[in-house]
Amino acid sequence: MISKFIAKGSRRTRELETVKVHLSSPWASSAAILLAVLWTIPTFGLFVTSFRPSTGINSSGWWNVFRNPEFTFENYSRVLFEGRGATPPLSQYFLNTFAIVIPSTIIPITIAIFAAYAIAWFDFRGRNFIFFAIFALQVIPLQMSLIPLLQLFSGGLHIGSVTLIPSFGITGTFIPIWLAHTMFGLPLAIFLLHNFIAQLPRELIEAARVDGADYFKLFRQIVLPLSIPAIASFAIFQFLWVWNDLLVALTFGGGKREIAPLMVRLAEMTGTRGGDWELLTAGAFVSILVPVAVFFALQRYFVRGLLAGSVKG
């Protein structure tokens, strides 16, 4: 009886398979492949150009290079390790990007997972309101915060002559950038993590409560370990967002070279050295490499995160 049932089921899936196969048309596939190639050509052009000597870059298009190939690593060694006057080489900016990205990813995730847990599992009045408020905050342009936050970081908070918050002298360090990324990253982080944590089975949480676990043990022993996939998918978001950010670093970096990340330097290079394609292409590729590698390695988590919530911008 059961086997008959299974056989019927599998025949049914086979039928659906044939429908699918029937639907797959070579024209649609070719069109999709064509679009994918089109989408990749600009990046490929940049990649090829970054390995050409500057005389070649400026005298012929990169698509000609396959006729008489001539490649070099010199662009990379120049852009990465040779400074110019007061401007350090790109390797220093690369380091700054790391110094910005790591705390700017760890701190908001920690704070967000705490808050997501509280909103999902604590009973208190105003819970729904807080949840919707955080969701709405997610899409409020960060332009609304730039001027007041900058004033706060550089001058503290005063009412009349009374100082409520001193300035701490943190301007020109990484701290304002870390704090800004933490604040701006929180709404999406809380929203995504909440969606996940709220769906943990109620019985599990209640059983642990009955066993005498308080809310802290419950978090440490059950909620946190189970939330690792959600944490991973948000971590990728935040990592990519901070790595690729220009606006926050530009605003809160105070124009200091010592703490400016890759993106700030690259944007500066396109302005002042717009014609030095050998340096620009190599520099751009260096900046693209890490996020693209992370993306390909962890694509599954990234897509899961995308589908779980909308996207920050």
């Binding site: 659906l16 808050a115 007041p148």
Partner: protein
Amino acid sequence: MLEIAARQSQLEQAVSKLSSLLITIIVFALLVTFAFWIAERTSERIQRYVKFLIFLAPALVFLFIGLIAPAFRTLYLSFRDARGENFVGWENYHWAFTQPEILDVLKNTGIWMVVAPLASTGFGLTIAVLTDRMRRPGIVKSLIFMPMAISFVGAGIIWKFVYQFQPNDRVAEIGLLSQIAEWLGFVPTNWILTTPLNTFLLIIVFVWIQTGFAMVVLSAAIKAIPDEILEASMLDGASGWKRFSKVTVPMIRGTIIVVLSTITIGALKVFDIIRTMTGGNFKTSVIANEMYNQSFRALNYGTGSALAIILFLGVLPLVAYNVMHLRRERAER
């Protein structure tokens, strides 16, 4: 000698940066551990309050200081002069809606808001439908999706190179667009200087990035359509186009709207592309870029804040729609 000294100081800087990074993370970890250690040792009665303090309060404080309070302050500053010292009434808004340059900025932002989401979603939907029937869509999807990992700055450089124009006739073109124009028998021009074409050239960069997002989300929605429905429409003899327009699109209508509104919000806030590719010159500037210029270049906090508020008002209907959508979704669950 000098070079060695320079290398040395670079190394020292690197070490000091890495150690400050490490110290920050260790201090943060210790802080969290310590808070937990204390909290777990308090009585049940105290924990009732402590749990809010540790789990919820940090996020609320950060959100208040970083987003809520600044929003009100920006509103306040938008009615004051450049340094925020005197009340000026509606002057900054009047400026925004009468100054010819700013009117251009608003017009460009409008073009971005309409063209970018429609194009991204259109391409995304097309590719989602095309790959849905493919046997191995993995590589195609990855390639279309990859630009999402690339920064707007990086993308700006990639496309600036595509749009590169060689003013000297005797030298070969090195920009792909110029070369394609030549192959097709047109005379290439300095694309990025040509208004209003240049705004659309910048939008292409954004669409190139956002299509991947639209594709992934729409593709998941299409996968969720029950096979029976597709099958039934096939048995009814519906053609490919009919199936697409009469079955697929209506079934994923909600998702399409979410994708459109998400990309519209992104398009409204676009900054890096403009700044990297034109710096907002040649009549390509948009609100987000102009807001930065007014605030941090012209150092006029009044006009800068007014532009931020205008940007916010543009996003507001979309936020309201999203909140309503979420409420309905939660009510259904």
